[in-house]
Symmetry: C2
Subunit: 201 residues, 2 copies
DNA sequence: ATGAATAAATTTACAGCGTCAAGAATTATT
DNA sequence: AATAATTCTTGACGCTGTAAATTTATTCAT
């Protein structure tokens, strides 16, 4: 019956994605190879091609999931804050917390040569949803055109959070800010607090 | 005689590096392969191993050169500014100008899984020289310990410039800020101006 | 200057990769 | 049940990084 087939098919697809996630988190994106994914999923090295056009298509799916999860991180954080300044800070903290807790997928999401979102409309929609949330929460303007000067402070604040996340992730700030994840998150909060306080005028 | 040999050896090494730079700038880091580099340099596919331990060692050299050039970018920019606020802004602009004009090497310099600077002391020294310059110009403190609270504003400002460079480089800000390099640099300056003006209190 | 030691460069070889193509097995449709 | 469509496997090709062995070039001691 159709149900059995459908479930089975989804199972294979899921196990391929599960294996991909596991590999990515274990050994980084470099060790996510088509053949190793297939091995882990217990299928032939060619089976994944029935579900994904190529390696980049798998990465696009992972990146899309990442944007979904980043969105959830930020929405939850915003919900807990009361005033606008609090929401700004909470969102930035959530952004960085996501990056530090999901380093590999964060890299994937922001490296256009790994996944060109222009070729993956589904993932692009998820990414845009994130960026729109950032713009909505940070910005005064509703939607408006992106060339608007209103966007300048939005991008400035976003850049600070993104740059901080990136620099920490790549170890460019040394270990002075702690070795454990909690310590690093705490350090990031301090820097972000300083920055958002400036923005709050 | 010894002179001839020495020159010849350096020539091979240089031509390998030249080929590496060309490949990186033509087709991105993904198309910089050991074998293609050798082909371009007109040597056997194994010859590069007499000058570099492996692929990462070549990347480390390129990254090191990148840090040297970033340093020059920033020092020149700082020299043209008169007051402290001007130096801050000029340095940030130089940082972003470097990133936009040298996207591939900029990526290389800030991706630890591509080149782990811990394994390449020479390149690490050059990187640290850059970061020290940033800290010196942005910070009030001279050297001090990195855990000092004085570093908070330094890292905040650095994060803004780095995040902006990264987001622009990866096309996450859309094309709203211009398609030509000049337009994008101009847009970055506007955002950076807004940010540094906040920092200047 | 010539033979031995050293260094440099090439050739050969292997395992892994992404992915195309063809065939076998399974499932769906009529 | 027979046919059509889908799914999966096996095999192959050309690419990669790099280890090992071999050849060529250079240096040095005599």
């Amino acid at each position: 019956m159709a149900v059995t087939k459908s479930i089975s098919r989804d199972d294979v697809r899921s196990s391929i994605l599960d294996a991909s996630v596991a590999l990515m988190n274990e050994g980084g994106l470099g060790s996510l190879s088509m053949r190793e994914v297939a091995r882990r999923a217990g299928v032939s090295h060619q089976a994944p091609y029935h579900y994904f056009a190529d390696r980049e298509a798998i990465l696009a799916e992972l990146a899309g999931d990442g944007f979904d999860r980043l969105y959830d991180y930020m929405v939850s954080a915003i919900g807990l804050a009361r005033d606008k300044a609090g929401k700004n800070r909470a969102m930035g903290e959530a952004y960085i917390r996501f990056a530090l807790n999901n380093p590999e997928v964060f890299r994937l999401m922001f490296r256009c040569e790994m996944v060109d979102l222009a070729n993956y409309p589904e993932a692009k929609v998820k990414a845009d949803k994130c960026f729109q949330l950032v713009a909505d929460v940070l910005g005064a303007a509703t939607t408006a055109d992106k060339t608007s000067a209103d966007l300048v402070p939005v991008i400035a604040a976003w850049s600070t959070a993104h740059g901080l996340a990136t620099l920490m992730l790549e170890g460019k700030l040394g270990e002075a800010f702690g070795e454990t994840l909690d310590q690093r998150e705490e350090a990031a909060k301090r820097i972000l607090a300083f920055s958002t306080q400036l923005f709050a005028k």
